[in-house]
Amino acid sequence: MKNKYLNLNDIYLKDERFRISYFFSLEELALSLKKIGLIYPPLVSFRNNHFILVSGWKRVLACSQISLSSIPVFVVEEEDELKTFLIAFYENLATREFSLLDKAEILRKLKEFGEAKRNILEFYMPLLNIPQTLSHLDMFATFSQFEPELKEFIHEKHIPFASLEMLAEFNSSERRLLLPLLLPLGQNKQKEILENLREISLKNDIPAEKVLKSAEILEIVDSEKLSPLQKANKIRILLKRKRFPHLYSWKEAFDSFLKKACWPEDIAINHSPFFEDEDVTVHFNFKNEKEFKSHLLKLQEVASKKEFSRLFKLFSDD
């Protein structure tokens, strides 16, 4: 490798054949460059009358952001595409952790540059901490095909593998419809939306797109009164209700019982998880004898109401 100074304009950034990462924030690196300059020169290669970047995209983009005109680079003299890509791969492997999207890009490029499938499975996938199975290889290939705006969302929200797997089950236009619903939510709620939507679609043989374009969902989406977070949550609950109609009707019956029985607010009452057992638990806090007796009186009052016996009928088929 030769050391050389290059004008930033002489690096042809449109050629991204060796690029692994597409999403990173440049602020901290730009500050570091301003303070101490560029210590590790990026790697470039001369191909088709251009210098193209092999490794160091973040460094070059940060240099460009702070308007440096020329930078030191190492020129890679290797001509073979795969071997050149491996230089980029190993340089990155040694210095940082790859995101799921980086890994997807690496596997895609290894394949494109002609690396044998068996080598990818047996050698590179363990290096990337990916289980050595063909289905994982296929799955990462799908991730690499995700739309750019979805990739940006995945990067920003640190979406885990399980959710990416679910996203991969939708087509491109469904993913576009889903994106605004997923953006305001945390990971668990995102997963809930994806899972319920997928399963409603599969169970009823309706494309997910049709579910997302149903009148009741569009009404929420088009509402001007609701914030993006409120819309996402409303749709999440709607999907859950569609997916689990019986469970929801039991929950509603339980809540309605509490309302009708005027259940005291400072005494918690819970059914067993998913009503699997007949047990109901009651919980209250007290600081002294007076508070304790007051809670007991409230419970006694509720128990003496006609509605109270309805509680036990809720859990019985009789």
Binding site: L134, S135, F275, D317
Partner: protein, 367 residues
């Protein structure tokens, strides 16, 4: 399975298992199947695991090896639900049938169909086990980690097992199958403590989900032949599955069954609704993407497995039991596989005090 007995593409024999009598018998019964002697079956297993569909690939091969652990174990059942105190003999692992709901897809780490050939160790272990439990009645069977009869045309193991258990009056030995591979059973002298049982489902579910298994009518016909020979028979409605039209389909199945089989010769029937650990769902989604059975209302049970929301299970069981009773099966001993106290109370109208009471309730017809 008589017309289409399972034949592996190749039999791998672990070098240290070559001299066992069962190995020799299987070799004799599979003269046209290529064989390969291997020193380390784990390498084979690891190679299989990286294939795209390791479970399906594994079904193409038979491995003859030694059981290094215990042959006899209590059925693991599931925590927080009532079991039936069953004991299992781990003689074979895996199964040539490919039922989409099968728990073995998740449970077994070895995708090869495996036969443990060190039978002398099995008999020794069984002698000790039976002697230890000689003062009580118990049930034991081979159909937990594989199908009891699917390989029987190669192993002929049913003959050995029936002979072993025939004289042991306190032991109820069960061969559990979905196949019609009953040739060897029919050549054996029956005994009242030997139960040959079939897993049954509606014709629609059997056709859609039980790849490689004979039609339900054929299974019931095989049961009748076994019964005519003098054996007792059992039936396992497991997994019961809800789908549009399930009531009618299960009613038809039970009508057909009870018309063909004399209820008094039915040793027991078990009922279990579809249940699965979370990881099995993702395996099945990959292997059988068209399967819709997992998109009903499943909740996470107390054991962490998904099962139908309780009112749906109650409805399912009540209907099935009413079909059994309506068709002459009022006296057939029934039990649930892995169900809760609440459900026993609601459906059976009694709650066993534990797995031993379930077990005892099944022995009544034997006096």
């Amino acid at each position: 399975m008589i017309e289409s007995d399972y034949t592996p593409q190749k039999i791998f024999i672990e070098r240290n298992s070559l001299d066992f009598a069962l190995t020799k018998r299987i070799i004799k019964n599979t003269s046209r199947v290529p064989k390969e002697i291997v020193d380390n079956p784990h390498e084979l297993i690891e190679d299989l695991k990286v294939t795209r569909n390791a479970i399906q690939e594994g079904k193409k091969y038979l491995l003859l090896t030694k059981q290094r652990g215990e042959f006899v174990k209590p059925c693991p059942c599931t925590p927080h639900y009532i079991g039936c105190n069953y004991f299992i003999i781990n003689l074979e692992l895996n199964c040539p049938l490919d039922c989409s709901y099968c728990i073995l897809q998740h449970y077994l780490s070895n995708p090869l169909i495996t036969v443990h050939v060190n039978l002398k160790d099995l008999w020794r272990e069984l002698d000790i086990f039976c002697n230890k439990n000689r003062k009580r009645a118990f049930r034991i069977g081979t159909g937990e980690l594989g199908d009891s009869l699917a390989l029987d045309h190669m192993t002929e193991i049913s003959k050995d097992l029936i002979s072993y258990f025939r004289g042991k009056r306190n032991v109820y030995f069960e061969l559990k199958t979905k196949t019609t591979n009953i040739r060897n059973v029919l050549n054996q002298e029956p005994a009242d403590n030997i139960v040959i049982s079939w897993s049954l489902n509606s014709s629609k579910m059997a056709l859609e989900l039980e790849r490689g298994a004979p039609e339900v009518e054929e299974r019931v016909y095989a049961a009748r032949r076994v019964l005519e020979k003098g054996f007792r028979v059992g039936f396992h409605f497991d997994p019961l599955i809800r789908y549009p039209g399930w009531e009618q389909d299960y009613e038809e199945l039970i009508k057909m069954l009870m018309k063909t089989i004399e209820p008094a010769r039915i040793a027991w029937m078990s009922l279990g609704s579809l249940r699965f650990p979370p990881l099995l769902k993702s395996i099945i989604k990959k292997r059988f993407p068209k399967t819709k059975i997992f998109y009903d209302e499943f909740i996470k049970g107390k054991d962490g497995k998904f099962r139908y929301f309780k009112p749906l299970r109650i409805e399912l069981y009540k209907k099935i039991i009413s079909f059994i009773k309506k068709n002459g099966g009022s006296d057939v001993p029934l039990y649930f596989c892995m169900e809760s106290e609440a459900l026993w109370r609601e459906v059976m109208r009694w709650v066993p005090k534990g797995k031993k009471e379930v077990e005892r309730s099944l022995f009544l017809p034997f006096g």
